[in-house]
């Protein structure tokens, strides 16, 4: 049975024609009879979708059945999220159809997909930060009563929460919750709407290892209850651990699928990037050169007015990558910002090549040869609405080669940008394109290109490969090593221990704003890095 947007029948929910406007039907009983049944099997057939002339999805077909966890694996920009947004009714496919239990359906908006039993937990949570937990659930729940919604659904929410051992004060505001708790609010929201099919988009990217374990338990429980789950990820370990079957996407098309029991990580990785991935980058031994950076007893205050960095000292030399490992929120961001001039240093001293740069402006620090690849690349690394060539000179526009007095030399700027795009393999159809249209990996490549095109003495890189796929990660790491070989120093902040161990010559472990110790990368004491990151051991 087709659900059409334009021809409402009394049985169909259609907000556009319903005089009750935003009122939602009282229950799933308002749906066509065939859809009231639980989703036993969902199929997508020949789905295609393009944005700005670029194919995001190309003739994709997949299916998932009850009690099954289907993994959707692919690099950033492979079209995983687009495909799921089509299923959830946020985008309309250019071609193809969706079938539930064998009968075709058309999903034109999220409400319809919710009523059909599809729930989605988005990568960026769809929660109202300033509202309480209960208000957020009331907003998404289809049977919320009109008057006194917060009071009337409280009991139901509480019983659902108990089912998944979810203890949270329903009156707390979302911004007061951790990422893991926010995700559970999303899951509860989907389950309360009776979701038979739950889509999770990169659900582990914001979670701590413990929260990931808890999520896996929830997913297994849902599987046992006969739910269908689609699990989107670009992390091979998770896919192997959680999913029954996996479909691999590459550049918008399906390039393979397999039962996770009958395949291995290597095969999947090859499918995902279309070639073999070197998991262990070998770095050559290089002798330490002259000292570039020296930080002496740095103290920095955090956003909350509390000390975030407490007396950190270290030095950094030519041909060296210095890694700072630690759990997020232990002063890494504040330290990076202090060195690059974004945040005030309360006391202590930073020198570059012997020159004092403490509390200079970011521009002057840049002119001393310090580049910065910031964390949260969209917020701090680019101006999303500007073109690629504008973004490529965000920091260099004042240099003689890009400007003459008050005017920019756009021809030179564009040549320079095209150079970065070619050298760093940024995928875009034109440099006359708003940078927001690029995927995360391509944005990061452009940022890195911008930051190292002037051969900096020191590159401060904060979580440079966070959220990137295997291909882009490998590419970026190679460039960091290349920079090291050319005689620059790199200060690398990362939560990814594998990355730290692969790239760094020396490693510092930070906890609560203090270094727990500084080690050479072959130091045996590093086997206790976990304890140090948790603050229970100091050397």
């Amino acid at each position: 049975m087709w659900i059409t947007w334009k021809a409402p029948s009394p049985n169909n929910f259609n907000p556009a024609a319903d005089p009750g406007l935003m009122r939602m039907p009282k229950s799933r009983g308002g749906c066509p009879a065939t859809l009231m049944k639980k989703i036993q099997r969902l199929e997508m057939e020949g789905i295609s979708k393009s944005f700005h002339g670029i194919h995001a999805n190309k003739e994709i077909s997949l299916s998932v059945g009850s009690g099954e966890i289907l993994g959707l694996l692919g690099e950033n920009g492979a079209g995983k999220t687009t495909l799921m947004n089509i299923l959830y009714g946020l985008y309309q496919p250019d071609a193809g159809q969706i079938k539930i239990n064998g009968s075709p359906v058309r999903i034109t908006n999220p409400m319809e997909s919710i009523l059909m039993g599809i729930g989605m937990v988005h990568q960026h949570f769809m929660l109202i930060q300033n509202h309480s937990v209960i208000e957020n659930i009331a907003l998404g729940y289809k049977d919320t009563p009109f008057f006194f919604p917060k009071i009337k659904i409280r009991e139901k929410v509480a019983s659902f929460s108990r089912q998944f051992n979810f203890t949270i004060d329903l009156n707390q505001k979302i911004w007061q919750l951790s990422a893991g708790e926010q995700q559970r609010v999303e899951i509860i929201k989907a389950l309360m709407n009776g979701a038979d099919l739950l889509i999770l988009d990169e659900p582990t990217s914001v979670l701590t290892p413990k929260e990931i374990e808890e999520l896996i338990i929830i997913l297994r429980q849902m599987k046992a209850d006969g739910h269908c789950v689609i699990f989107i990820s670009h992390k091979l370990d998770e896919i192997m651990n959680i999913c029954d079957r996996v479909v691999v996407l590459q550049k918008g098309s399906i390039v393979g699928s397999a039962d996770t029991g009958k395949t291995d990580k290597k095969t999947l990785a090859r499918m995902m990037v279309g070639r073999d991935v070197v998991f262990n980058i070998s770095k050559e031994k290089l002798a330490k050169g002259q000292e570039i950076l020296r930080a002496d007893q740095i103290h920095v205050t955090g956003d909350m007015g509390l000390p975030a960095v407490k007396g950190v000292s270290f030095d950094l030399h030519e041909n060296e990558i210095f890694g700072i490992a630690g759990v997020a929120g232990n002063g890494q961001r504040e330290l990076a910002e202090a060195i690059t001039g974004i945040r005030r240093i309360d006391s202590g001293k930073v020198t570059i090549n012997g020159k004092d740069i403490t509390n200079l402006s970011p521009r002057h620090i840049y002119d001393h040869g310090v580049s910065h690849v910031p964390e949260e690349r969209i917020r701090f690394g680019i101006a999303p609405g500007l073109f690629l060539y504008d973004n490529a000179i965000l920091k260099q526009h004042h240099l003689k080669k890009f400007s003459r007095r008050y005017f920019l030399k756009y021809n030179d700027v564009k040549t320079h940008t095209q150079g970065i795009v070619d050298d760093f393999k940024v995928l875009t159809h034109s440099i006359d394109n708003q940078i927001r249209n690029l995927s995360g990996g391509n944005i990061q490549k452009l940022i890195l290109g911008r930051e190292i095109s002037e051969q900096p003495r020191l590159l401060v890189a904060s979580h440079p490969t966070y959220g990137l796929d295997v291909g882009a990660t490998e590419f970026l790491r190679h460039h960091l090593l290349k920079l090291r070989k050319q005689g620059s120093a790199v200060l690398l902040f990362s939560e990814d221990l594998e990355e730290i161990f692969e790239l760094c010559d020396r490693i510092a472990v930070i906890f609560a704003g203090e270094f727990m110790g500084i080690f050479d990368s072959d130091d045996e004491r590093l086997c206790e890095i976990g304890l140090m990151m948790a603050g229970s051991k100091r050397i």
């Binding site: 907000p15 556009a16 406007l21 935003m22 939602m24 944005f51 959830y88 946020l90 985008y91 908006n109 999220p110 409400m111 319809e112 919710i114 989605m120 988005h122 949570f125 769809m126 929660l127 109202i128 930060q129 300033n130 509202h131 208000e135 009331a138 907003l139 998404g140 289809k142 919320t144 009563p145 009109f146 008057f147 006194f148 919604p149 917060k150 911004w175 929201k189 927001r436 249209n437």
Partner: protein, 306 residues
């Protein structure tokens, strides 16, 4: 002395009535994420419509209804530009103010200076109005006064205690997330802008057929702007808007009382704006989250953007 207090209080209530009506409307509108700077213009249009209809039909209630309709209809322009076309809301709102003021001046030209003989009877609530000092000021007032307080209370109830209220507030906070919950964001915003415009027009109607009982160009005298300041002062809460509006009404009256004492009325006229700035500064210093401003206020929302 007692008489002065009673009459001051009473006049403060009268002066605060249009402020409260317009502020409530603006709060609903801004809660859905749309900034409407057209209040002044819509108010003027409401005033002239109410005046003309009342004068020709002889029924002030028909005048009120006509003003309401006019305010809602002209607000559709703002809803269309800011919701459908996703244009700059400041520009669109200012255009609406100029359009409203101009239209009101043009239509009302033949009626300038004509007195309105038809009276709207005050409503006096027995017993309560006998309370000393405040009784007369609070319980023997024009129907507009009760309408303003009633609408503010109802609006507070709707925003805080109903599903629709959660949907409106969520739309202003995060339209994308709200849409993924299956709410029609466009409809919510249209509705909020149109209702807000209707309330502004009611404020205008109060000015022309109850407060001054005449029409003259420019009679709104910046009250629309005060309402926008009040929206911030009340921290987007219609409940708080009630006392805030009457406080500002009191300042309005104080302009005339203080004049003999040598305090410049210009100084008092700027007090509402200074008070709003102060509130903003104080709360921002303490805890910006408490400011409660809709997070996506004045940000156009495009559906299906990546």
């Amino acid at each position: 002395m007692e008489e002065i207090i009673i009459s001051t209080l009473q006049r403060a209530m009268v002066a605060g009535t249009p402020l409260l009506l317009a502020t409530t409307g603006e709060i609903i509108c801004e809660r859905s994420g749309i900034l409407n700077l057209g209040v002044e213009g819509v108010m003027a249009l409401g005033a002239v419509t109410a005046f003309i209809v009342t004068m020709t039909t002889g029924s002030p209630w028909l005048g009120v209804l006509a003003a309401l309709a006019a305010g809602m209809v002209i607000s559709i322009i703002h809803a269309f530009t800011s919701v459908t076309l996703q244009a700059n809301q400041v520009v669109s709102g200012l255009a609406l103010t100029m359009l409203g003021l101009g239209l009101a001046g043009m239509v009302g030209k033949p009626y300038v200076g004509k007195p309105l003989t038809i009276k709207m009877e005050d409503i006096t609530i027995p017993i309560l109005s006998d309370i000393p000092y405040i009784g007369k000021a609070l319980f023997s007032q024009s129907p507009f006064f009760f309408m303003a307080v009633g609408l503010a209370l109802v609006s507070w109830f709707f925003l805080q205690r109903t599903r629709l209220g959660i949907q409106i507030r969520s739309t202003g906070e995060n339209p994308k997330a709200t849409e993924t919950q299956g709410v029609n964001v466009f409809l919510i915003r249209y509705m909020s802008v149109i209702i807000g415009g209707g309330f502004s027009a009611l404020a205008g109607a109060h000015l022309s057929i109850s407060y001054s009982k005449s029409w003259i160009e420019g009679m709104t005298a910046g009250r629309g702007w005060i309402a926008i300041a009040l929206t911030i002062f009340a921290l987007w809460n219609p409940g708080r808007a009630i006392w805030a509006a009457f406080l500002f009404g009191g300042i309005f009256v104080a302009q005339y009382l203080m004049q003999p004492l040598g305090i410049s009325p210009n100084f008092l006229a700027m007090l509402p704006y200074i008070a709003t700035l102060l509130i903003l500064v104080l709360i921002s210093l303490k805890d910006p989250r408490k400011l409660n401003a809709p997070a996506m206020l004045a940000a156009p929302y495009k559906r299906g953007e990546r």
